[in-house]
């Protein structure tokens, strides 16, 4: 550009941010919500009891269920109850000759979600729970997953460039570190955007880069193709390889050792770290082996260490090999993005940083409109570009929260035995967002901002009320029984409602700043009454 370096970076920052800002807002909001996807899922299936049994008892019950339901399987995969997720999930594969032909390709597989308290299958409403938000933020919805991931990756690259150019452009990044001047219009919006970006800058850069890393094998397959020309499976084995393949089932049956004993061996190997789940290969056969996976929480990387034991003798056969440098690095990047290791306090910090990111993106797109508007004031009417941005801003910044709250309303209000219920819940989210966007496009004015913010506030604040009318897991019950996951969810709904209401109120009360001429007139009027008083005083003297 003919402009200087900083100016061209400023231009690039504006356009990389603006062109994908609204989609980024969806990705950021859904991603931030995903930090609590297990908790959201629990709230959305209030029928799910919390796990009251130990991991070992749960494991015994899972094995008993699988011996009964899938005794002929060649592989059982079990995820044990975790502190944040009380259900057990099981998954199995039967030999190809015993597959169910009516189910086509999936005929060899089966799965069940179990209640560890009973050992039986879980009966809860059909919902995707918090996983809807998790999938939404990289698979989007209604479009093929591949397209969505390329689109999201494209937006993430734009975001990465926006972060880099933002830092380059922000001349006084250290001087303005604590600067926020309120009630000063454009200046305030710029300060807000800057501070929300800088105060969580390591987080924003990390989450964007690591997000791209999670799907980098899909985005950049060329290295694999160049170096593994015929045999891409070898790449996956070499780069991510865990335990080796299991041999075919041997003849003859043998009784395996009690599962608790096997799990304890693993815990001893890991100096007390607990078990996340296990995979049994060739269950019931003489050469049955069990791969026990380590629980999250003590390591940054998502690469899960596993131990392989002989189920009959209890001997330790294999341990996950140590990772290569790049594999370990990628594992840590992936781990930082998913934050599975994060416990209560740290998870809250990640969530708040994610919210700060949403504020950064939102303030950015609003800032552009605020800056652009005076150029249109001379003409007396708003041009097409600004009108489009105004509508998208209102419909997304204020409209998306409405969609999020509507999703929770749908979970409580849709009939429990409805067909395709989880799909219907997702549709509620998008219907609400579409309605907000449509309303915004029809009338992109300040009062529409206020109305949508108020509607968002109401839909959020009323979630606990809808909850009370439709379930027995409302605040009155959950606070008394100390179920802080469910109570915390309801209380968070109230908090979001309050914040949105405050925003709506400020939008409604805003008055345009006075022009210089108007200010002079008012200053003169304020001085005028004083003049006669002085003259009369003089006169008396």
């Amino acid at each position: 550009m003919k402009n200087g370096f900083r100016q061209s970076m400023a231009w690039l920052h504006t356009w990389t941010g603006l062109l994908v800002g609204w989609l980024l807002l969806l990705i950021f909001m859904a991603g931030t919500a995903s930090y609590y996807r297990e908790e959201i899922s629990r709230w959305m299936r209030p029928e799910l009891p919390s796990a009251r049994v130990s991991t070992d008892v749960a494991a015994q019950r899972a094995i008993a269920f699988l011996q009964d339901k899938a005794g002929n399987a060649e592989m059982w995969y079990v995820t044990l109850p975790q502190p944040r997720n009380p259900a057990m999930s099981t998954f199995w594969r039967v030999p190809a000759d015993q597959a169910d032909p009516s189910k086509g390709r999936r005929g060899a597989f089966g799965d069940a979600t179990l209640d560890p308290n009973t050992g039986g299958e879980l009966k809860a409403r059909d919902t995707r729970g918090g996983d809807f938000f998790y999938r939404l933020h990289f698979d989007l919805h209604y479009i093929p997953v591949y397209w969505a991931r390329y689109l999201v990756g494209f937006c993430a690259m734009f975001m990465l460039v926006a972060i880099l150019t933002g830092v380059i452009t922000h001349k006084k990044i250290f001087k303005d570190f604590f600067t926020f001047r309120r009630d000063k219009g454009l200046r305030s919006w710029l300060d807000f955007h800057n501070v929300s970006a800088v105060m969580a800058l390591p987080y924003h850069a990390m989450i964007t880069y690591t997000g791209i890393v999670t799907l980098m094998v899909m985005y950049l397959p060329w290295g694999v193709k160049a170096v593994y020309p015929q045999d891409e499976d070898a790449f996956f084995a070499e780069a991510f390889g865990g335990l080796p393949e299991v041999s075919a089932p041997a003849e003859g049956r043998a009784t395996p050792l009690p599962i608790a004993q096997l799990l304890d061996s693993a815990r001893a190997q890991w100096n007390g770290i607990d078990v996340a789940g296990f995979t049994v290969s060739n269950p019931g056969a003489g050469n049955a082996v069990i791969d026990i996976r380590q629980r999250d929480g003590k390591r940054l990387s998502t690469d899960t260490p596993a131990l392989r034991y002989d189920m009959v003798s209890g001997a330790l056969l294999e341990a996950s090999p140590p990772s290569g440098g790049a594999t370990a690095t990628r594992g840590v990047m992936y781990g930082l993005h998913l934050a599975r290791f994060a416990d209560g306090g740290l998870r809250a910090l990640f969530f708040l940083s994610g919210l700060t990111g949403c504020l950064m993106v939102a303030s950015g797109v609003v800032l552009w409109a605020v800056k652009e508007r005076p150029k249109h004031a001379k003409r007396g009417r708003v041009g097409f570009g600004l009108r489009l941005v105004d509508a998208l801003n209102i419909g997304t910044v204020a409209g998306l929260p409405i969609a999020f709250a509507a999703y929770f309303w749908g979970n409580r209000l849709l009939p429990l035995d409805m067909a395709e219920r989880s799909g219907a819940e997702a549709n509620v989210f998008f219907y609400a967002w579409a309605a907000a966007l449509l309303a915004a496009f029809l009338w992109p004015k300040r009062l529409m901002w206020a109305w949508q913010l108020y509607i968002g506030a109401a839909t959020f604040a009323l979630v606990p009320v809808v909850n009370a009318f439709t379930t027995h897991a409302h605040l009155g019950v959950t606070m008394r029984s100390g179920d802080w996951v469910l109570a915390g969810f309801d209380l968070s709904m109230l908090a979001f409602g309050a914040v949105l209401a405050l925003c709506g109120w400020r939008m409604q009360r805003w008055t345009p700043p006075l022009s210089a001429a108007e200010k002079k007139k008012r200053a003169a009027a304020a001085k005028a009454p004083a003049a006669p008083a002085t003259t009369s005083a003089d006169a008396s003297v």
């Binding site: 550009m1 370096f5 061209s8 290295g223 160049a226 290569g324 690095t329």
Partner: protein
């Protein structure tokens, strides 16, 4: 009068001199060229790094993301759209040639 005659005659020299084409050209350089450079970076790392094959491939990918972002910055910071393209496609070609020499796509 002058305005209408300017609009009536299409003069390529003034039409293409408009800022818009520069922006479009740089954007293509950044997006398409940047992706090409990133891809060649990942291939080059995969064949050139002295570590195990799988590790070299992964390292190449991690690096390529950064290269793509920097390409975008270069495309808009440099003096002209032509320099943007040369600065991106030049290294891309070099890396491709070097990778071929080192055994890529054998």
């Amino acid at each position: 009068m002058r305005h209408s005659s300017e609009r009536a005659s299409f003069r390529p020299s003034t039409f293409f001199a408009s800022e818009r084409w520069g922006v479009l050209s740089r954007s293509l350089a950044a997006i398409v060229g940047g992706y090409a450079l990133a891809s060649m970076t990942s291939v080059f790392c995969a064949v050139a790094l002295p570590t195990a094959r799988g590790q070299a491939v992964l390292t190449g990918m991690l690096l390529a993301i950064v290269v793509a972002a920097c390409s975008a910055l270069w495309a808009f910071a440099t003096r002209s759209a032509l320099r943007a393209w040369v600065g991106i496609l030049g290294p891309t070609a070099l890396l491709a040639a070097a990778s071929r020499l080192l055994g890529a796509w054998a």
